[in-house]
């Protein structure tokens, strides 16, 4: 109960911050909206814009309206897109959930497997080479990897599409329909995100595994005659996962922000790109809507991490 109250308190505090932060950004949203047109628009139109977006109201009144609308499930009206915020962020969040979800799951599972193998087979030459590759990949910026994949697999080999999450020309019909089309567009962005995520997961798991390889409980398991595969995953890996769970909890909340450069390179219609544009355009309602979703994702990530600890470590369960 106290934990729920804690989350509720954080949520209320963050709502206030969420309202204030975009408005603390220097720059006038109307100027950002109309750009050079600002010079030639009529004063009447400018005034109409101010009224329409509530920018002529005092900040306190704007805040009351924001909370009131939020309580009624209304996230506001985007200045730039001239549409309800929920309608703008809805599709973007779905595409982001797909991109980030798939890459998160794949990079986590493959990263754990690779980390375990790198630790177990640490003396093999391939393992040393793989650690080197992981370090290189981890240090490369996402947009650079994405651009390289785009040039190789789309431009040179013609295997994948150049942009978007769906085929935009309806006449181009490929076998497999909608689902395969989505997967086809998802492949390169996911691969890019995985190449950014997987090495750090693998290296973290490897480092944790190295600490438990010779632990007494491993010796005890071997003495009981358990199989190597079971020892590896049920005993060693499970014990090595705690730092990873902490990291994954944090990453879960911010993964969509990490996806931003990938979304830009592949014009993938996700929420990271939307937030970036909203910040540039000083689109307060859209920034607020997206930050709110981000906050909820971080809170959800923390909650999942807590649940993950309990699952991975029976000692925490028994203490609770």
């Amino acid at each position: 109960m106290s934990r729920v109250l804690g989350y509720l308190f954080v949520l209320i505090f963050i709502l206030g911050l969420n309202f204030a932060l975009p408005r603390l950004l220097p720059g006038d949203p109307l100027t950002a909206l109309v750009g050079e047109q600002d010079l030639i628009i009529t004063p009447e139109y400018r005034q109409e814009l101010r009224q329409r977006y509530g920018l002529d109201q005092p900040l306190s009144q704007q805040f009351v309206q924001y909370v009131d609308h939020l309580l009624h499930g209304d996230l506001g009206y985007s200045f730039y897109h001239q549409a309800p915020v929920s309608a703008v962020i809805g599709p973007a969040l779905l595409w982001t959930a797909l991109l980030c979800g798939v890459s998160f799951l794949l990079s986590t599972f493959l990263g754990v497997w690779l980390g375990v193998e790198l630790a177990i087979q640490r003396t093999r030459s391939w393992a040393a080479a793989a650690v080197g590759c992981c370090l290189v990949l981890e240090s490369l910026p996402g947009f650079l990897v994405g651009m390289a994949l785009l040039l190789i697999f789309s431009l040179k080999l013609g295997l994948f599409p150049f942009f978007g999450a769906l085929e935009v020309i309806p006449q181009v019909s490929r076998p497999g329909g909608f689902e395969l089309d989505v997967l086809w567009h998802l492949a390169l962005p996911t691969l890019t995100l995985m190449m950014a995520e997987l090495p750090s997961v693998a290296l973290l798991v490897r480092a944790s595994m190295l600490k438990v390889l010779q632990a007494p409980f491993v010796l005890a398991a071997r003495a009981r005659g358990l199989g190597e595969a079971r020892i590896k995953y049920r005993y060693q890996a499970r014990n090595a996962l705690l730092p990873l769970i902490t990291r994954l909890g944090i990453r879960f909340g911010i993964l969509w922000a990490v996806a931003l450069p990938v979304e830009v390179v592949f014009a993938y219609p996700g929420a990271g790109q939307l937030l970036f544009q909203a910040l540039l355009k000083r689109d307060y309602p859209l920034i607020q809507g997206l930050l709110l979703v981000s906050i909820l994702a971080v809170l959800a990530g923390n909650a999942l991490a807590e649940w993950g600890y309990r699952w991975a470590d029976p000692r925490i369960r028994s203490q609770a």
Binding site: P43, L151, I169, S173, Y268
Partner: protein
């Protein structure tokens, strides 16, 4: 060994599957034309819900027509077949084409034109200022007379050539046009109908309107779509047209693409804070102008892809351009004389007055870092110390508006259209905010007002030339350069550049009439 090879089997199968899948769709059908745009969404494509910037207007222009339009040479008939000017009282009479229908099949008449003007009075549009219209008279179903409060020279371009005509039977029920995102909000009289709009993909898919009064467009479907990298998408033939960087031009031409440059209707300026000393002094602004070598600036920062700025604002590509007599060639000695005339004394640390060394802050956006560096070096050569500060464009605009700056780099377009732009820039309601508090001299202000109400083209041209000369003398800001922008396309559509830019001066090639059978064949 065999076990290891077995690992390769699924990999080969996956790659083969992807290869087959990607080849499965074949090349996009010829009847479809895709234009790539990195920005993506420009708002719902209705006359009131589109984004107020040029690309938003452009998309709606495929769906809605105006009374008149422009081609490469100037005004051409659109919904109005002919038009005439009446002097007393000042009025324009437009004779509409008979038989024009809306996308839903209903006839378009003069009542729709009158309704549009009435509706715009209640719901202002960022692009159309209808205040000069005093009265609207529907003379018959195909003739409408717009009476003006006084002669207004930019009328054809600013109103008749920009105002989308709305179907009365749809919009008369709409109370909040900005939030009217119904499919009916896109029913216009333009050459295309909206087939699909996907905000998140920045996709605007238009299909040809079979019953368009100027003939069915030659391209059955045309779309704007968001792309991550325009050049890669164009080279991969995923889109058929996109803006391309200058360095890619030779390679694209070698690959068979058509690459065209746009006229120079956008400028980068050095802004001065006119509320501060010494920027408020003409001699100081002239000294900084003499410190710069604009052709060298273009060569170094744009690799030659641009034109040096004219102190009279309008670029040589503008039909209204007149080379000012007053120029500011690179002349450090002249700059030093001008600074000395302000009471400054040259010291090893720079110019000094009353124990204060002259040092100014130069604000620039992230895109103009190189230009800022060049200016800093050039000003240091004449002994003026400059601190660089890079901020994002919204912050820069805000600081210029509130006069919290010394010098700033900022740019704007619209230089190809009617010379009303000079009025807006110098005397418009927000001009002082944008020019660091500059107040034009009474002579310049009078010239600016006079040209707005002068209908005689030769006389107006003379006034606009005088305005450019006066601007060069007063130097409210310093135009640095006009960059060259390029469009690459597959050559299938004979895109041409609209005289002065589309509507009020949108600097793009994508004029809808290039897609029409008659207009396309007659275009240069």
């Amino acid at each position: 060994m065999a076990k290891k090879i077995l690992w390769l089997v699924p990999l080969v199968l996956i790659l083969a599957g992807i290869g087959l899948y990607s080849a499965g769709g074949g090349t996009p059908p010829q009847q479809h034309y895709l234009i790539g745009d990195p920005q993506g969404d420009w708002g719902f494509p209705s006359p009131f819900a589109h984004n107020p910037r040029g690309p938003g207007y452009l998309r709606v222009s495929f769906l809605f027509d105006t009374l008149i339009w422009k081609d490469a040479k100037g005004f051409i008939p659109a919904l109005a077949e002919t038009w005439e000017y009446q002097e007393s009282p000042p009025a324009y009479v437009f004779h509409l084409r008979p038989g024009v229908i809306w996308h839903d099949g209903k006839p378009l008449t003069a009542v729709d034109v009158a309704f549009t003007i009435d509706y715009l009075k209640k719901h202002p549009h960022p692009w159309v200022d209808i205040r000069p219209i005093q009265k609207v008279e529907v003379l018959d179903p195909h003739t409408v007379r717009l009476v003006l409060s006084q002669p207004y020279a930019p009328f054809l371009e600013e109103v008749a050539g920009t105002m989308f005509i709305l179907p009365r039977h749809i919009w008369e029920q709409v109370q909040d046009p900005r939030r009217f995102h119904d499919a009916r909000a896109t029913i216009g009289s333009g050459p295309y109908k909206l087939a699909e709009y996907r905000r998140e993909h920045g996709l605007y898919r238009f299909v040809a309107f079979d019953k368009y009064y100027q003939g069915k467009p030659v391209v059955p479907e045309i779309s704007f779509v968001q792309v991550g990298n325009e050049l890669v998408a164009l080279k991969g033939k995923a889109v058929q047209a996109a803006a391309v960087p200058p360095e890619a031009v030779p390679e694209l031409k070698a690959q068979g693409f058509t690459v065209v440059s746009l006229p120079h209707f956008w400028c980068l300026k050095l802004l001065f804070n006119h509320g501060k000393f010494p920027q408020q002094k003409l001699a100081f602004r002239q000294a900084l102008a003499h410190a710069l070598n604009l052709p060298e600036l273009v060569a170094q920062t744009l690799r030659g892809h641009g034109q040096p700025g004219s102190p009279g604002l309008l670029p040589p590509d503008s039909p209204w351009y007149s080379a000012p007599q007053t120029t500011y060639p690179s002349d450090p000695a002249a700059a030093a004389r001008l600074l000395a005339s302000l009471g400054y004394q040259r010291t090893p640390k720079g110019w000094e007055q009353q124990g204060q060394i002259l040092e100014l802050e130069l604000l620039s956006g992230p895109r103009y870092g190189r230009e800022a560096e060049y200016l800093k070096k050039a000003f240091q050569k004449i002994g003026v110390n400059v601190r660089l500060r890079q901020v994002d464009h919204s912050i820069l605009d805000q600081r210029v508006k509130t006069q919290q700056f010394d010098l700033a780099l900022s740019g704007h377009g619209g230089l190809g259209g009617d010379p009303k732009i000079i009025y807006d820039m110098s005397l418009g309601p927000l001009a002082a905010e944008f020019l660091g508090g500059y107040q034009p001299s009474p002579k310049l202000a009078q010239l600016l007002r006079d040209q707005l109400h002068t209908l005689d083209q030769a006389e107006r041209r003379r006034l606009v030339a005088q305005i450019q000369e006066q601007l060069a003398q007063e130097l409210p800001n310093l135009v640095l350069y006009y960059p060259t922008w390029y469009l690459g396309h597959d050559g299938r559509i004979p895109w041409f550049f609209t005289k002065g830019g589309i509507a009020k001066g949108i600097p793009t090639y994508f004029n809808k009439i290039a897609l029409l059978p008659k207009a396309a064949s007659s275009s240069p």
